[in-house]
């Protein structure tokens, strides 16, 4: 049975997983955050892991307590129940201790929030528009690069990358602080790239902003998916980002955005190629 096979395979994977590098997209049977490509995602991962240990501790504590209580105070072992119903010290303790834990948590949490949200001096801007159902990318800083539409590839063309791969990726330079302006032409969408630690809703009539900066040495193709319900093809408007070296980006811009060979538009459900 396929399921059984998959489970055994992934159990094996589970053991070696922490050792192998994550890709820039979801991993087969993956069970953790995607590998970080930006400082924000690095911080986000750190905070997630920190909070994870806390909540794991709480869960284990409750579990162990419950197990012990169920064992020790079962009717068999403890035929007569005590009648204690108050213990001020205890009640104060279980109010104060969680507060302390939360205070410990809230400090790094706020730090991450402000790091993520406060736009630094950015070096470049891109504009993203969510349409039903594809993404449109524009480079306001580079007027010679025409805005273009990025459509999902069908299964035949995308192969293993179906629902991630597009016909035209957003091209950005590495090691550059990039401001992303996000809006929508009709329904809500959400521009999300897990490896970058960004997710921002595309809202008609409103321009949201976020930013990212891909760490040096992290050139490659990254994938994301629309993350706000937008209708029939919500599942089918992936985000593909190609992170290239600064030099390659310069020449790409000089070429008027030239490794997008064919511009494709999505018309009535079928793909139209235009050269």
């Amino acid at each position: 049975m396929r399921l059984v096979h998959n489970i055994t395979a992934s159990l094996a994977l589970l053991l070696i997983m922490p050792g192998i590098a994550f890709a820039n997209k979801p991993t087969d049977g993956g069970y953790w955050l995607q590998d970080a490509a930006t400082p924000v995602m690095e911080e986000l991962t750190k905070l997630h892991n920190f909070v994870f240990w806390i909540i794991l501790g709480i869960t284990l504590f409750v579990m162990v307590m419950m197990g012990w209580i169920m064992f020790r105070f079962s009717a068999k072992r403890n035929p007569t129940a005590s009648k204690t119903t108050h213990h001020v010290g205890l009640e104060v303790a279980w109010t104060i201790v969680p507060i302390i834990i939360l205070l410990v948590m809230v400090v790094p949490s706020m730090r991450l929030l402000y790091f993520q949200d406060a736009l630094p001096e950015t070096e470049m801007t891109i504009k993203v528009t969510g349409n039903t159902w594809n993404w449109e990318y524009a480079y306001p800083d580079h007027p010679n690069v025409e805005s273009f539409i990025s459509n999902p590839l069908e299964k035949e063309d995308a192969g293993d990358l179906y629902l991630l791969k597009t016909d035209a990726s957003l091209v950005v330079p590495v090691d550059t602080k990039i401001k992303v302006l996000i809006t929508s032409s009709n329904n809500l969408h959400s521009f999300a790239v897990p490896a970058f630690g960004i997710k921002m809703d595309a809202v008609p009539g409103r321009i949201n902003e976020t930013w990212f900066e891909v760490n040096p040495g992290k050139e490659g193709t990254y994938f994301g998916q629309c993350s706000e319900l937008c209708g029939v093809n919500h599942y089918k408007m992936p985000i593909e980002i190609e992170v290239v070296s600064k030099e390659d980006f310069q020449s790409w811009v000089a070429n008027d955005g030239a490794f997008t060979t064919a511009v494709v538009s999505y018309d009535n459900g079928s793909i139209v190629l235009q050269d």
């Binding site: 504009k127 306001p140 302006l181 809006t183 009539g205 409103r206 321009i207």
Partner: protein, 321 residues
Amino acid sequence: MAGHAVEHDYHLIPPSPWPFLSGCAALVWGLGMVTFFAGLVDRTGSSPMAEWFFANGLDTLKSSLTGDGSLSGGWIILLVGCLFAAYVMYGWWKDVAAESAAGDHTPVVDIGLRYGMIMFIMQEAMFFVGWFWMFFELGLFHKVRATWNPDILENAAGYADSMAPGVTSVDAWHLPLMNTLILLLSGTTVTWAHHALMHNDRKGAKWGLFLTIALGIIFTWLQLIEYAELFHLRESGHEAWIGNNAYGSAFFMATGFHGFHVLIGTIFLFVCWVRLLKGGFKPEKHFGFEAAAWYWHFVDVVWLFLFAFVYIIFAMNGVAH
């Protein structure tokens, strides 16, 4: 232990058809609402009968308002639903009044009714919180929103227009001021009626209540005049009409729902008046009347908020030309 003798003062009610019939009425009404406002079938002319029942009724209304009158139907289910609901309410409240007269409303039941009415008014207040929230958001933050990169925003112009500048809002110091005074006055007349009733001055009570109802009707009348004026101004696009911009939407829905509540309150008072004329209510026991009065005061307070914020403050903001 005690057999069947009931030794408490609560009011156990025998089975009653009204709740079930209310459900039926709600179903018809709901179907009517969807039909009237959205329409279940298109007007293609292929099956006139079905279209008369199930086509969009709002279009009918519009076509008769603009005087062309080419469309018909679409309103019958809603009308039946409303009448059905009115019939059920009539039957239900008649039962309640009869029970009250029969002495079923013991002191503890009376307190329960008071709790119930207070809770009902609380939920009405929260309903208006929703509308005011919308209004404050539009009034306070639209300029902030409009400054968000309007150069890249295709519909930035429409956005910036949300209400100011360009929206001429209703002048607070004409009809609205008049209406404020009317409602405040009606608050005093209903209190007069209440005091008169408590002192067994039934004639005074009748007059006080009558005046309150009359003022309520005048209020509604003036409100309709105001709407009619706005209707005639709506073409200019910037005027505060319901479908022109979000300001108009918030204005009409908030004042409209308030007006609807005034109507309910007026009917409520009217029912009390009829009961009073028929010899109902006693100086020491007249909760039906008090509930109507509470409701009326609530409606009054909502109006004061509307007047202060929707008419005066936002109008000051909005009367830019």
